[in-house]
Subunit: 290 residues, 6 copies
Amino acid sequence: MYLHDKRLQYPVKVEKPNPVFAKALQQAIGGIEGEIRVCLQYFFQAWGARGPSKYRDMLLETATEELGHIEMLATAVALNLEGAPQALQEEVSSDPINGSVLNGMDMRQILSTGLAALPTDSNGVPFDTSHCYASGNLAADMFANVTAESTGRVLATRLYNMTDDPGMKDMISFLIARDTMHQQQWMAAIEDMGGVEKMFPIPNSFPQEQEASEFSYKFMGTSADRGEPTQGRWSSGKSMDGKAEFTSGPMEAHGEEPKLAPPDPMIGGAQKEQMSMVAQGAKIVKDALS
Amino acid sequence: MYLHDKRLQYPVKVEKPNPVFAKALQQAIGGIEGEIRVCLQYFFQAWGARGPSKYRDMLLETATEELGHIEMLATAVALNLEGAPQALQEEVSSDPINGSVLNGMDMRQILSTGLAALPTDSNGVPFDTSHCYASGNLAADMFANVTAESTGRVLATRLYNMTDDPGMKDMISFLIARDTMHQQQWMAAIEDMGGVEKMFPIPNSFPQEQEASEFSYKFMGTSADRGEPTQGRWSSGKSMDGKAEFTSGPMEAHGEEPKLAPPDPMIGGAQKEQMSMVAQGAKIVKDALS
Amino acid sequence: MYLHDKRLQYPVKVEKPNPVFAKALQQAIGGIEGEIRVCLQYFFQAWGARGPSKYRDMLLETATEELGHIEMLATAVALNLEGAPQALQEEVSSDPINGSVLNGMDMRQILSTGLAALPTDSNGVPFDTSHCYASGNLAADMFANVTAESTGRVLATRLYNMTDDPGMKDMISFLIARDTMHQQQWMAAIEDMGGVEKMFPIPNSFPQEQEASEFSYKFMGTSADRGEPTQGRWSSGKSMDGKAEFTSGPMEAHGEEPKLAPPDPMIGGAQKEQMSMVAQGAKIVKDALS
Amino acid sequence: MYLHDKRLQYPVKVEKPNPVFAKALQQAIGGIEGEIRVCLQYFFQAWGARGPSKYRDMLLETATEELGHIEMLATAVALNLEGAPQALQEEVSSDPINGSVLNGMDMRQILSTGLAALPTDSNGVPFDTSHCYASGNLAADMFANVTAESTGRVLATRLYNMTDDPGMKDMISFLIARDTMHQQQWMAAIEDMGGVEKMFPIPNSFPQEQEASEFSYKFMGTSADRGEPTQGRWSSGKSMDGKAEFTSGPMEAHGEEPKLAPPDPMIGGAQKEQMSMVAQGAKIVKDALS
Amino acid sequence: MYLHDKRLQYPVKVEKPNPVFAKALQQAIGGIEGEIRVCLQYFFQAWGARGPSKYRDMLLETATEELGHIEMLATAVALNLEGAPQALQEEVSSDPINGSVLNGMDMRQILSTGLAALPTDSNGVPFDTSHCYASGNLAADMFANVTAESTGRVLATRLYNMTDDPGMKDMISFLIARDTMHQQQWMAAIEDMGGVEKMFPIPNSFPQEQEASEFSYKFMGTSADRGEPTQGRWSSGKSMDGKAEFTSGPMEAHGEEPKLAPPDPMIGGAQKEQMSMVAQGAKIVKDALS
Amino acid sequence: MYLHDKRLQYPVKVEKPNPVFAKALQQAIGGIEGEIRVCLQYFFQAWGARGPSKYRDMLLETATEELGHIEMLATAVALNLEGAPQALQEEVSSDPINGSVLNGMDMRQILSTGLAALPTDSNGVPFDTSHCYASGNLAADMFANVTAESTGRVLATRLYNMTDDPGMKDMISFLIARDTMHQQQWMAAIEDMGGVEKMFPIPNSFPQEQEASEFSYKFMGTSADRGEPTQGRWSSGKSMDGKAEFTSGPMEAHGEEPKLAPPDPMIGGAQKEQMSMVAQGAKIVKDALS
């Protein structure tokens, strides 16, 4: 269960409200790189964790912290909206710069919330929880978390560069720092379990003799000129799991052209022509064979 | 631009069609762990790549390969649906086992496609392309790709265990092998750029003196008893980027309770009571202070 | 900011795991009537609240409680999935009842999470945060909250009736009790602000002389026979805001048939025929008039 | 079944087309507070109504009226788009004000419709019908309807304040008036069934002895300092259903830390380390106990 | 504006309720081939129609009719749900056939609506209004309408084959008949404007000398063996618009490998390695050239 | 399986980057009229095709071509973003015109991708694959394809008119030309199967004696004045399938007012009042009858 403290984890100050920046900040709230995503992703990983319990506990701690980051950002949005233009007539008629401010705003921050944050991204697209990865495999989930914190920190640095408000820069420098920590925390969990090399291939509990192993360490090129695939660390040398050597070569077709059964008249829905042409073709083949 | 070969990359055979397995396979087509996702994710990363070109080229090769995997799975779905029950009356009245087959099917594979695959997951939810991560940061994107291939391989092993059809097991063993390769290929790209340690924190081009660095390597606990946070590789020892030592401690509130301006009467929409109580409160405070 | 306690708010026990009930419980997690929705809805209302602060504080308290309810339900899902069937072959071949269990399951609880909860509804549709209403108007938001708790309690009673597992019935009886409280809490907030009558029409800060008040208290019937509209408390007697009398009558057309300008050739995209027929028509009218 | 009258329910005139206002109006068409939502919500409530029939009939009448409101707004959008800028080059090069008009427009109103309304909100997000609440419980549905009309009227007053076009102000004053009526109509239906007090808790047909009633009328605080919860009408005095007294107190943990079974090797997908660490832990516990 | 008649357009009777068929019928309500789609699609086409008015009028008439079809189907769903199983325990323990009925049901028809229709498809995915095509080009829209009625009639015939309830078969035979009419009605509108040949290419108002006309009537093959493309009516003979002859040949690359500028350090977010390797590469090229 | 050629199908040049046009181009990538849609739609039609194989082959060829069109457009977006403004402070403070450029941009093209294309439409809404129609009926699918290429070409001509960059105009003139071809190609496939008349009604394999044929060729008017429906090619003359004559007349109610069973107390969730009023009503009727 959960408790709250009315204070924010870190100060949120806005010196000069900027309603266009309020729109940009939405990406860090409800975007796929944002805080609702990491918060729910870590919670669902924790709630479904089947041990060892220390990973569950760690996930709970960071999930709970992230909830406070959404709060900070929502507060930042509300503060950036104070004094925002709200009527089309004044703006456009009198002032091209302010008129353009209204055009750059997220209109729903006026129309739907009365100057507050939305659970959406900077284009107004609502967050959808399918982005909360929780696979039941700890290594896969830790990589998902590194990814989330990496795209999150990329986003945060772009927001940092977009504003010159000292309060906003201060708040974002804190969020960047936490992303720095969280990225490494999830990599540290990988190391805690034995290290990157031992983790692969994920899941490492599947018996590898059941995979078609002649294809397991070969980089395949798809160039239509059938030349050598792009070379790099991935095309030769030891594989990352230390179990094999990488090789490379052009992709080949091991399968045949697929043949599906003709349309089923019982299911209905095909055109007569589909069924009769197929039947005719079958007859020609059959006659030829007999 | 792209070309095609009518043959499949690997054989797709189904010995005993199973329409319920056709539903399960949908997860590998249009699920968040599935092939449409990796295919489009790698393509968008490649198409937006601003160099060095070898990473772009490698992305194009694997994206193109993945397109062929969707094809294989769509073929497998169609083959598993051949001979599927299609009418409620026969099934339920005569045969509890077959009746249950119809109940376990994806009805849209009958109603919408006439026994073919859908671009949806195993619950019929359409794939939505917001899952195609392409951040413009190569390290973040490589971790996103490791994640995609890891959750993809986890899914594939579960599908492998779910069926006993030899053709399906063979096809899936190939897909598992390719996931093995692709996971490591993206980790190899990380190594190709200098290795995991050098990549962090992602993005590594942001000047770290601009982040609030006292928070950059500290694991924070949120336990309401204010005790020590969960210990592990993440709470002490060298950080993963080799730049600092991890520390840990309970989370503290550095900020204050947030104060937003009262509702703006010009924006409209607040209740009178909200505005008057706030005004009254402000007066009381003001009177007290004067 | 937020803290956690590893213990659950209320015990969650499952005596006899039922994977089909695990699917039903998803509706209470990620359904539109579920706990993710109320949790985020109350948080966003709180984070955007512009006073008086007591409503903000109350919202924070209940939002934080709801987070713990998602945790309870996610735990209940995981417990109900223990021992679930996982392979099609065993099930269908040997046992019609268990085979039907697999058919009734949410396949993604096997394939995507490895026997854990998803942030989706009982049909596997991910929760989308557009359902988190936070309008900036306290009365509208309180009614939204009554609605959420009412549909939530309706759902909970249906889940209660669906199971006979004593542990599940106990857990749900707790959730029902909390819904009882929360429904009334939001109505109490309405009373706290002055009562239902005073709240209407919402928002009550808009000057009513600016609305077309001859239509403000009239129930309009749309029956094609132009008879009397359905009678009830809404068609006569004092209006709910005490400001007028309800009346009723058949709906009338006060407007005309709409006339839009012809397609703009500069925008492009219309067929030639659309433009020429319209032009011709205009000419005929013009000629007739001249 | 349904019939139409080519005339509009109320006049829709635009004196000075404003394409940015055309974008704002979209929120009232396809937004969650908009007219598609109420129209379909009332229809689905009516079509599923299992009596008494007068509520079904009333729902049908208002649903049918709302359809005409979508029509009015779609007409208003089309009229506001007449003469809109359509080419980037002219605008930006010659005229900052008009350039900003294009930037403030919904581009799909040019690109997708050729100057007409879309079934989306003001950010271009399509309406999704999960917002049409119809629970089968009349009281819950009436509160959902009050909510819809309240957020709808809040939105309408914001749109009213955003424009100074007399035709638009006139049309919106009509829509505001109808929202005034409809809010009260749904509250009147509550009264018609016996009044607010009798309706609670919703559903009132569930035997309350089956709920965990010690938690049914208690407001729980979640403050980490374990102090008194926020006081108000909800923390003491008679409950809104007249059946009990409100109380309040800090939230307590009645449950334990959840314990899930270890990962199931049959389901596959967990890392070896997850399974072995858990097994090891179990052995230590077992040894200690023996 | 709109009016209603309480009677249904056509009788809806269910002799033997079948809750699994109630799930299947959802596809015809909220599926992409369903009635909500055509209803709203025709309404939005009508409301945005800029003449000639007869097409607008015709669209309004059919849109209004379709609203009544949603009503018929929602009624059919409710009738099919009467007497549905509702508790897991009874079903599974006593009766494999009925147990499987519950497994085949849409659980939200119990949990969310209390035995009524949802605005979703047969997999529970809510309808999303982006499927309502209204392009402002009458010919494109008429083809969109033919498509909608064709996929709709395909769906209806599959539903017809799936049931043996005489009432349901009768209702569906009516819907099939209306789809027959509506398909042809939209084709008739094409003929009314001058016929298929004259309509192409859509839009026919764009000056064809502005298109790269050497590519306008050539079927391009993408086979990796660079052989002849698939032959058919599309590879030779007069084009469908009568303006040219079809030709065919393998696809060629007329463009070059794309070259994007290196990552912009001002935008932030790229890895150092991306920027330095690109810079290094540029230097090598420059040195080589100098 | 698939192969790639690093070169583009057609040159993509941008003389003067325009970030607002980069936003507009998104509609042609991830919009419902865009290239991701046609690409995946044709692929899924091909992969599910059950013969005759020439249609499958043709679909594969054009699907593969369309993949290259997404690539061209993604490249065009990236080139249009080069040199885009990225910081709010500089823009708004110094320059109304450039400030408005930032306001007109898709912020996610900065924040999420670092100046590259997104798989979304011009409003930032992600593409959702439910738009990929593949019904298993060739005629329906061909009409779906004509529709896709028609709305696609309408969109392309609007984009052509929106820009004056010679490189962009050249690229779009190529895409327009390919849309010209593809529209006709799908109509040619209809002719290849026997022609438009023979295709109707779609599906033409359903025995027409099973449809309620008195409604199959009648245009029904819904005007509330019960007058004649709108006349046109659709109201008289031979039907498009040559099997009947069109007729017309006002719509009639053949059904009755629907009567659903009262709420089921076992399902729970209805209000007591709903159940008792219905029961009371039933008693009154019963008493009257006895």
